[in-house]
C-alpha cells in the first residue's frame, strides 16, 4: 500500500473508531437510568458493541500510523481538535426520544457502511466489518423499532421525536461527505462510495419514518467539521470525563 493510501486509511479508521467510541460513551451515560430495565440492558449492550468496534478500529489505526499509539493512547490522549468523529454522535442525550433518533440515523448509516466494508480489499477492515455488521443489524432494528413506537405512539412521544429529528437532521450530511483522501480509498476498492451509500441510507430512513408517521426534514444547511476536528462544545466535556484518569495519572498502568 502506498504511503498516501495508508495515511488515508489511517484517517478513515480513526474517524470510524472515534465515531463508535463517542456514541458508545453517550449510550453508556444511560446505564441505570433508562425508561425500563429491558432498555437499560439493550442500550448498554449497544454501547458495549460500539466500544468494541472502536477498540478494533483504533488499534488498526494505530498500526497503520506506525508511531506506536495503541487504542488507549488514541482514545485517552488526544484533545478535541484531533478527534474525527461525526458531530451527530457527540450531541448530548437530552431525552430517550432524542437518543433513539440520534441512534437510528447513525445505525442506518453504519449498517449500510459495514455491509459494504465486508467486501473491502483491505483484509483487516473487511474482518472488522464482518464482525460489526452482525451487531449493527441488530442495532438498527432496535433503534428503528423504538422510533416507530415513539413516532406512532402518543401525541407527546410523537412531538418529542419529531423535535429531535428536526434538531439532528442537519448533522446527517456529514456522514456522506467525501474528500480527496477518501476518494483514493474508494478508487482502490477499500471503502464504499459515500454517494451510493447515501441513496441506500435515505431509502432505509424514509421507510422507518413513514412507519413512525414522521415527516422527513428537508435537506437544508448541514453542520460539518467533525472529520476535520471542528467540533461542538459538547465533545470537550465528554473527553474531560472520559480521559480524567489517564490525564491525572500519566505514568499509571490500569
Amino acid at each position: 500500500m502506498s504511503t498516501d493510501l495508508k495515511d488515508a486509511l489511517f484517517g478513515y479508521a480513526l474517524r470510524l473508531g472515534d465515531t463508535s467510541l463517542v456514541l458508545g460513551h453517550r449510550l453508556s451515560e444511560w446505564c441505570g437510568h433508562a425508561p425500563e430495565l429491558e432498555e437499560d440492558i439493550a442500550l448498554t449492550n449497544v454501547a458495549l458493541d460500539l466500544v468494541g468496534h472502536a477498540r478494533m478500529l483504533l488499534t488498526y489505526a494505530g498500526e497503520l500510523e506506525g508511531k506506536g499509539r495503541d487504542e488507549d493512547r488514541l482514545a485517552y490522549r488526544r484533545d478535541v481538535f484531533d478527534y474525527r468523529n461525526h458531530l451527530l454522535v457527540e450531541q448530548p442525550n437530552r431525552d430517550f426520544g432524542h437518543t433513539i433518533v440520534r441512534q437510528f440515523l447513525h445505525d442506518a448509516w453504519s449498517v449500510e457502511l459495514y455491509e459494504r466494508l465486508c467486501a473491502s480489499k483491505d483484509e483487516t477492515l473487511a474482518g472488522i466489518a464482518a464482525k460489526a455488521v452482525k451487531e449493527v443489524r441488530y442495532h438498527v432494528r432496535h433503534s428503528g423499532d423504538w422510533l416507530v413506537r415513539l413516532g406512532d405512539g402518543t401525541d407527546v412521544s410523537h412531538a418529542k421525536v419529531a423535535d429531535a429529528l428536526g434538531r439532528l437532521w442537519p448533522y446527517t450530511g456529514e456522514m456522506f461527505e467525501r474528500d480527496e483522501a477518501e476518494q483514493a480509498l474508494v478508487a482502490a476498492g477499500i471503502v464504499p462510495d459515500p454517494a451510493e451509500m447515501k441513496a441506500a441510507w435515505t431509502a432505509r430512513v424514509e421507510a422507518v419514518l413513514n412507519d413512525a408517521t414522521l415527516d422527513r426534514p428537508a435537506d437544508g444547511w448541514m453542520q460539518k467539521g467533525g472529520r476535520r476536528g471542528e467540533h461542538s462544545e459538547h465533545l470537550g466535556y465528554l473527553l474531560a470525563e472520559m480521559q480524567f484518569l489517564p490525564r491525572a495519572y500519566p505514568d499509571a498502568n490500569w
Partner: protein
C-alpha cells in the same frame, strides 16, 4: 451482586400471628416439609405455606432491587474507566446486574406478584435493597473493591442459594453465581493492577479497602442471635448457613487475598487462630449498619431519587409503547376482520 443482611428484626418481618390450622392444612404442611427435607424442588404450582411464599417474595425481590440499585454506584465509573478494556468489562458487568435483576423479578413473579408492584415498593421506599449500595464510589479503586469484596461476599451468600428449595430461585442463582464469580475475579485483577502500580494507585487501592471492608462484613446481616428468620428459613431450606458462618468463611477467604495484594485490612484485632484455623476479627459497628437501614447512609437518598427519576422520566416512553401496541393490534384486527 447480592445482599442478604436484610433479615434484621423489623415490624414487617414479624412472625405471622398464630391461628387455627385445619387438619387438611396440617397434612399439606407435613407433606411440604417432607418434600423439602428430601431436597425436592418446590415449583410455582405446588402447594406451599403462606409464610414460605411471603419470605421468598421478600427475599427474591430485595435481591432483585439490590441488583438494580447496585447498577448505580458502578455505573458511576463507566464513562471514566481508564482504559477501553476496563470500560468494556465494567459495561458488561453492570449489564449483567441488570440481567440478574430481570431474572430475579421473573422468579418473584412466579410467586404471584407483578414486577410493577415490586418496583413500586422499591420506589416508594417500602422495599429494602442491600445497604452496601448506599456507600459512594468516589475513586476508580472502588470499582475494584466492589468486585473483589462486595461480589466476593455476595458469592458466599449466593452459592448456597443455588440449592434453595424453591426451584425458580435456585435455577436463577446458578446462572447468577457463574457471572458473579467472573465479576469477583475481574475486581480482584483490577485491585492487583492498582496494588502493583504507582504509589498513588496503591494509595487509592488501600483507601478503597479501608472504606469497603466493614460494610462488606455487614452484608452477611446481623449476628445469628439477632437474626429474625434464621431458624424457619433453614428448616425451609431457603437458607443453608447462618450469617455468622458465612461471614467467617468470607473473612477466611479474603484475608490472604489482601495479603497477596500487599494491602492492610483495617482491623487491628484481626489475627489468625492456628487452633481453629480461622481468622478472628474485631467487633462490627452495628450502629452504622442500622443507621443506613433507616435511610441515613451517605447515598440512600441519591440512589432512590435516581431510580425514581429514571422511572418518572421514562413514563412517556412506556405510555407510547403501550399506545403503539394497541394501535397495531387494532390495525391487525381491522385487516383481519
Amino acid at each position: 451482586m447480592y445482599t442478604q443482611g436484610l433479615d434484621a428484626k423489623t415490624e414487617q418481618s414479624a412472625q405471622p400471628s398464630p391461628r387455627l390450622v385445619t387438619e387438611q392444612e396440617a397434612a399439606l404442611q407435613g407433606r411440604f416439609q417432607e418434600r423439602v427435607d428430601a431436597e425436592e424442588k418446590i415449583e410455582p404450582r405446588d402447594w406451599m405455606p403462606e409464610g414460605y411464599r411471603r419470605t421468598l417474595v421478600r427475599q427474591i425481590s430485595q435481591h432483585a432491587h439490590s441488583e438494580i440499585v447496585g447498577m448505580l454506584p458502578e455505573g458511576n465509573w463507566i464513562t471514566r474507566a481508564p482504559t477501553l478494556r476496563r470500560k468494556v468489562a465494567l459495561l458488561a458487568k453492570v449489564q449483567d446486574e441488570g440481567g440478574h435483576g430481570l431474572y430475579l423479578y421473573s422468579a418473584a413473579e412466579t410467586l404471584g406478584v407483578s414486577r410493577d408492584e415490586l418496583v413500586g415498593q422499591l420506589l416508594s421506599g417500602k422495599a429494602k435493597y442491600s445497604s452496601i449500595f448506599n456507600y459512594p464510589t468516589p475513586t476508580w479503586a472502588d470499582i475494584g473493591a466492589i468486585g473483589w469484596l462486595v461480589d466476593g461476599a455476595a458469592i458466599m451468600n449466593q452459592v448456597p442459594l443455588c440449592r434453595c428449595s424453591y426451584g425458580p430461585y435456585a435455577r436463577a442463582m446458578v446462572r447468577i453465581c457463574r457471572e458473579e464469580s467472573f465479576h469477583q475475579r475481574q475486581g480482584y485483577e483490577l485491585m492487583l493492577a492498582l496494588a502493583q502500580g504507582t504509589a498513588e494507585q496503591k494509595r487509592m487501592a488501600q483507601d478503597a479497602l479501608n472504606r469497603w471492608w466493614w460494610p462488606s462484613l455487614m452484608m452477611f446481616g446481623p449476628s445469628d442471635d439477632q437474626s429474625a428468620h434464621s431458624a424457619q428459613n433453614m428448616a425451609w431450606k431457603i437458607k443453608r448457613f447462618s450469617n455468622d458462618e458465612l461471614r467467617q468463611r468470607f473473612v477466611d477467604a479474603t484475608v490472604p487475598q489482601a495479603e497477596f495484594l500487599g494491602l492492610t485490612i483495617p482491623d487491628p484485632e484481626l489475627r489468625f487462630n492456628a487452633e481453629t484455623g480461622h481468622y478472628e476479627f474485631g467487633a462490627i459497628d452495628w450502629t452504622e449498619f442500622n443507621e443506613i437501614l433507616k435511610g441515613n447512609g451517605p447515598c440512600n437518598r441519591e440512589r432512590i431519587e435516581a431510580r425514581r427519576k429514571a422511572w418518572d422520566d421514562g413514563a412517556w416512553v412506556r405510555e407510547a409503547a403501550v399506545a403503539h401496541a394497541a394501535k397495531r393490534k387494532q390495525r391487525a384486527m381491522k385487516k383481519a376482520g
